[in-house]
Symmetry: C3
Subunit: 348 residues, 3 copies
């Protein structure tokens, strides 16, 4: 599978993956970082994946598998292993609930206490863990995994090969209230939905609100990766392959471009457009649209990363600057009075 060359016992039985420092017999490990080279001579792993050109300086008891890129090869194994594990679950555990006129594909897992509403369409190989809620009219593509307690409000559309983690809520009402004369607020009904395209991963306890108007959607484009505890407000659109770290929030109607990398605890105000390939540093606050592609910004409000850190370096010394300014003012005042005296003297 790894297309590597085997050096040593090619019949070692491997049943698990491990780290080179503490792997045990029966496990396979990898060596990519030279810092860890020492461990290859002492590891109890049955096999180790190493780079083709690796030159052993001592005897190695483990079977070696020589490959082009040890890390990538190990990752490949991890994936296979993961796939094996995650495809274990199947069948229907009881009690579980499914409403009228709903259809499910082949090889489905429906955990106990999972709830599927009416007129729902679910593809093949979908895993619906315990306590998942799937509202009416929801559509879910093939191979998608909904971890325990994911909540999909009515009319949500989820693509294929998506993974959504526990506690995440999709399709809750957008935050829309019209102020009344008496100081109270009237709820603006939220009638749109959420569309999640293919290959999207969403962490735990994240919230994605539905769009306001009927026919409108909050849209998460294909390949987007969202971390935990993220807020995505109504009518937001997040472009292809954009990655957003934990606890960031995007306010209503903002459009985030493709291939953005957004750090943790970032806040993006409403009704903005963020260009493709923008990098936004952790805790940044974005108050206006980013029009030029490829920028790296941070701060609140955010501007160029390098400029920010230069300014911040001076910020830290502001009390000193203030003292120097005061000192200068004193000196200039003195100079002034001396010069004035001279002028007067010169006039004499």
């Amino acid at each position: 599978m790894l297309r590597g060359e085997v050096q040593g016992n090619g019949n070692e039985k491997i049943n698990m993956l491990g780290k080179i420092q503490d792997a045990k017999k029966g496990q396979i490990a990898f060596l990519a970082n030279p810092k860890y080279e020492q461990f290859i001579y002492t590891t109890q792993a049955s096999a180790v994946i190493v780079k083709k050109d690796f030159q052993a300086r001592k005897e190695i008891s483990a079977t070696l598998i020589l490959v082009d890129d040890a890390y990538s090869s190990f990752t490949l194994l991890l994936e296979e292993y993961h796939r094996a594990i995650s495809f274990q679950k199947s069948g229907i555990e009881e009690p579980s609930f499914i409403g009228k006129d709903s259809s499910v594909g082949k090889n489905i897992y429906r955990g106990a206490f999972s709830y599927i509403g009416s007129k729902v369409k679910i593809g093949d190989n979908v895993k619906i863990y315990p306590h998942v809620f799937v509202g009416d009219n929801v559509v879910i593509g093939n191979n998608t995994i909904l971890h325990p307690n994911v909540k999909l409000y009515a009319d949500t559309k989820i693509g294929s090969n998506c993974v959504i983690h526990s506690g995440t809520v999709i399709g809750s009402d957008g935050f829309g209230f019209a102020p009344q004369e008496d100081g109270s607020y009237k709820t603006i009904p939220q009638l749109g939905n959420v569309i999640i395209e293919d290959n999207v991963a969403i962490g735990a306890n994240t919230v994605i609100d539905c769009a306001t108007l009927f026919g409108d959607s909050t849209i998460i484009r294909q390949g987007v990766k969202l971390d935990n505890l993220i807020q995505v407000a109504h009518n937001v659109e997040i472009g292809k392959n954009t990655v957003i770290a934990a606890q960031s929030g995007i306010s209503g109607s903002s459009k985030v471009g493709e291939n953005n990398m957004i750090g943790g605890q970032v806040g993006i105000a409403g009704h903005l457009v963020i260009a493709n390939n923008t990098g936004i540093g952790a805790q940044a606050g974005i108050g206006k649209s980013i029009k030029e592609e490829g920028q790296r910004i941070i701060g609140s409000p955010a501007f160029d990363v390098k400029e920010y850190f230069k300014a911040y370096a001076v910020f830290k010394r502001l009390p000193d600057l203030n003292d120097r300014l005061r000192e200068l003012e004193k000196k200039v005042k003195e100079l002034n009075s001396i010069t004035e005296r001279h002028e007067v003297e010169g006039d004499e």
Copy 2:
């Protein structure tokens, strides 16, 4: 219902709401923003709501409904539509759980896997979606909606006409720990409860902790609107009609006034009092009480919005300021030595 004047076919059958750009036959749309005027001539909507004084520049095939305020009228329709939808759910889905000595009103919806504890009192027309947990002794007023997976700890009181979204937790323990001599912490039992008054809306995955002492309450006053992923700590009180955006947090025992507007990702420290009508900008940090009403503040720690942005504009140019200061210091030093020379020369 809209008290508008009908221009065209008054018998058009309308079964849905749409946007003027892409509405189809059978839908009703509205035109409020002149930017969209072009679409009224081409829309396939069966009817369009427009302002009374609208002057068509071309022929319009849709039936027009002339009103005072097109947007408000459309919103009214949305509300009606929403009400119709949200009142669809009723009855009891099985399996569901209800403990001893609990009473429920008329026309209730209790979703599958919903859990109601003992001695609970629930009003009329309440909707309890699947996976909702209602602890012992909880009281819920009429017409309140608990979306899938809302969790109400024991002794919580919820008013009438409230809407609480998925994953929100109400009544969890406040964060109270007493430091011990060995560096560990002892848990301070949290024995109070949470009171939510009427007409409160709470988003998804928000948390409201109970008060510490028995008989005390964390209180959310009538008309308050809380967004998603908000933290409300023990013994907090939030005043009437205050609106708080997503991911903000209010620390223990702080009292937030009425009609505040608080942006996203704001942090308010503990034991503070925030005056009525305060506006707090996104990502602000509030470290001391706000005594004067009607202020607009931002920053961490927060101060007047206009002053903040003026200061921040200079912050961005701090490296330049620093250079100018250094330059001045050099010049003043030179001037100083010249002047000293002059003084000496003058003395000669």
Copy 3:
């Protein structure tokens, strides 16, 4: 139990705890803060706990209990009361689910709709509230309480005497994605687990991700207290007795020391080491390791608290500083030209 001396009727029946201001007959209150002394003369509480050396200035109707530290004694009572309440729940409510080869200890509570997977080991006196999900191979120690809707992914280990609040997710996938040449990302399988040691308290809707590699763990050491809505990324370790306030986030692979006190909405970047006894102020951003113990820091990026507030005080006056700098530049320019004239004149 309080080892206090009783002054007055030693046979008062107490069935509840209350506050001195509004306690009623049958309740016990305490007086620790002299500010509240006035209430001891009017309280209807049946008994009041006071400090040994308390000197009444008027007549008191309540029975007094004289102790060394009134607040601590009251807290002790609170704890007893709490224990009494929280040990009420026991037995198995149906429907509930338990998989193959799982074992549970004595005196367990398993709420309705709770889900326990296969090969799970649960200790004595554990409380598993409704809608809790316990994945395969999970281990839970004695006396631990899982509030409604806690989600434990497969392989999680929880110690004894832990309390975890509603909606908290433990063991979800770390946020790991390998960029591909076409701009998309490949998911890096997350195969480690989470270990929570003894006496840990975790708030509501918090998320703790599992470690990436098989055999690795995200670790929360004994005595740690985490508030609500906190993000703990893959491979993080949090040291003994560290306390973290709501909405803070710790990025992948960072190691937080022992006895840290971390405020709300703090962000800690990845791969850092934070020394023991560090105090981190609310909303701080930590971008590099903290090596020296006992520091108090704030700001983003964070530095010494006192220095930060000094710098921030000047920040608020930056427009003024800028004006003064400009003024000085003008004056120095004038001085310069005068001095040059003098020099020229002097040369004549």
